[in-house]
Amino acid sequence: MVTLTINGRQHELDVPEQMPLLWALRDVVRLTGTKFGCGIAQCGACTVHLDGEAVRACVTPVSQAQDREITTIEGIADDAVGSRVQRAWLELGVAQCGYCQSGQIMGAAALLKQTASPSDEQIVEAMDGNLCRCGTYSRIRQAIHRAAEHGEESA
């Protein structure tokens, strides 16, 4: 049995310890907002937070996620930064197909927790591993700046 704390709730899972968190979330807990895109940490669609830090769930065994706070896209609205990111995403109409956007939003929220007002270079450094085939990058960059501004307004 593996015990995971996901979005503030405890879940007991009967899965092998080496099962990637992605598949535990999607197939077992059935939180499907976290997406599969590559399986080898090359696209970022599966990005979730472990204790507030962005990790790729597709290469994170559930054993490494035990005893840590797991936050997924379904829980990010409860976080002040996360909720500002979601709002900025909607204001700028970032999403096209939307499939990669859970990972983009989780990546952006983790960045803004670390760096309240990141430069373009810092955004690239944090987000260059989050792929988007629709090509929404320029709006992602703008939306991160917008979310940072919202943060300053509320500070």
């Binding site: 896209i73 197909c97 956007q101 629709c134």
Partner: protein
Amino acid sequence: MTTHRDTLLLANVSRRHVLKGLAASSALVIAARWSPLLADDEASYGAEAMPHGWVDDPNVFIRIDEDGTVTVVNHRAEMGQGIRTSLVMVAADELGADWQQVKVEQAPGDEETYGNQNTDGSRSMRHAFDPMRRAAAAARTMLEQAAAEQWQVPVDECQAGVHVVIHAASGRELGFGELAAAASQLPVPERDSLTLKPRNEWRYIGRDNVADDVPLAIDGEDIVTGRARYGADIHLDDMRYAVIARPPVYGAQLASVDDSAALEVPGVVRVVEVPGVGQPAGFAPLGGVAVIAENTWAAIQGRDALDIEWDLDAAGDNADYDSDAYREALEQAATAAGRVIRERGDIDAALDQAEQHLEATYYMPHMAQAPIEPPVALARIVDGKAEVWAPVQHPQAAREGIAEQLGIALEDVTVHATLLGGGFGRKSKPDFMLEASYLSQALDGRPVRVQWTREDDLHHAYFHAVSVDRLEAGLDTEGKALGWRHRTLSPSIASLFAPDPEHKQDFELGMGFTTVPFDIPAMRLENPDASAHVRIGWFRAVYNLPHAFAIQSFAAEMAAAAGRDHRDYLLELLGPARQIDPRDVNDSWNYGEDPARYPIDIGRLRGVIERATEAAEWQRERPAGRGLGLAVHHSFAAYAAVVFDVAVNDAGEVTIHSADIAFDCGPQINPERIRSQMEGSCIMGIGIALHSEITAREGRIEQDNFHQFRITRLSHTPHEIRVHLINDDPELALGGVGEPGLPPVAPALCNAIYAATGKRIRRLPVGDQLAG
């Protein structure tokens, strides 16, 4: 073409209609259905010419509940282009509905009911705008009639306002919800009697809403909260999870499999052989071995543990396919004449008497569509009826394929289209859905989800065709073009459905090759043979990509050889504003559209060039190592020009400062989503230019994942992308949006690299060609 029913209030859209004994059809039949578009059939164009045409029945597309909720049924695939929002904007405006009381419902695959649903070819708005407007106008007319009857006043005194019908003379009004039941009893008005709203009464169409407080994006909230449902997000009780080991070479078959280790993997429950059809594969599964498990991870591990022998003899010479050797062979073949597609004047004489003779050969490699959501499908079979959930661009093809595969009637196959996590042409081929239905049948109808991994997606795509394009031009002493010879060589998509024709089809050549818009006294266009060795399929903008890359690069080379400004030279090649009937340049296809309504408009090509170059300050001098590049292209009934401003440093690294994209698709229904499509095309095109390549050795694809098949990242995103939408002219016929922004991107970028460095890129991707 349309069906009429006489009530407005709809039952659930998933209700079944009695179908007219339509026989299940194979992929070959689907291919044959292109023929009306390819044949010289002048009577039928546009939506009319598509299988199952269009439907404008309000009963099919609009439902009004008694609480006033208006439900608009979207019958097209949503893959990021925003059609679920845009079609609702159209319906809401024509009906007079308030956005806050409108919702969208996704239609199942059912072309008899909804008309054509094949979401491909940048056609959705082009073909659905008028029918959806008529459906909504008919519904509005019925609401007005119902109000008139209730108030006992003439109907022409009753007018729909915002979600109400108003009798101005008495100041009375009734909400849509209050009128819905009575309206539903009225006959649907005759199409000819409908009055469409004037443009100045539109509240949503044409709204460029990014800056507004309430963005209209209908799925926006669901996407940012993780609630949006894509192909792999549907859960059914007792479902199983499958991944499939497919033949590594196109046409190879399973020889033998040892599954003992796979069955030892915890969670693996069964191993099932999947038959393949060989070549041509059409939309049928490639075959292989499926590992069925209790979760996806166990299935992936189980597949890794399979020990498989493949029969490569079945693949014929595909097992020797080497994409580098193939490029060389095509380049060699391009030196000899081929089938003549179009001819004007005496090309040999023109090239002989030219002062300068230019020649260049361009190459674009295979690519995979690689949507971030890989193919995935969930199927179950209950009482002989199949139900499939999948992200699919072409649900009718899926229904037909599954019906044939299972030997059941078309009406016994239900296809639920989920949101697509990107399509780009990959998901117009429903092979992954046929795999799921096959496996469900093998498991006695139990629900089975087939999940493709990224490796599966790259190894077994329906690849963008490689293309070699060889161009020659003769210039006079002034640098003016006297002659133009273009030979294009690519395997054809037709090879997917029938024995390989080994040359491009009219519709493939009509994507910017036959239709080259230059006004040159002598021109000769040829298409030498090329054969297919992998599955070839549609990739966003399709053959427009290599044609635009070659033509727009070569035009810049000609300008440089003539010592002329590229923009001025390009305008001169195009000649004066005029309209060309595609038939007059031997193009019988014209994207399926009426050549009278959709001529090739040189004025509009000039217009986008002028707008993009003006915005980019084309005349302003740039420092050393920095340059501007321009390209223009007409495709999918729209016009796009791109100017890039780039810098290249000594290490050969490209920095993209800005992109100015001028786009003319005629009337702009949802400008905000048009902008986003242009931005996305720009990003995808940068990847095509700089990074993206699929290669094959011994018939096997060499790229496994995104570290090898590289697509654009944030770090190669222009610092600024400026989109300039022009010609929102209601008199023009609607153009496409999803694809036409892409073709000019790669040549514009390569022209900018040339301007910055003097280095001409003729072989894509750029890769490390600029290093050192």
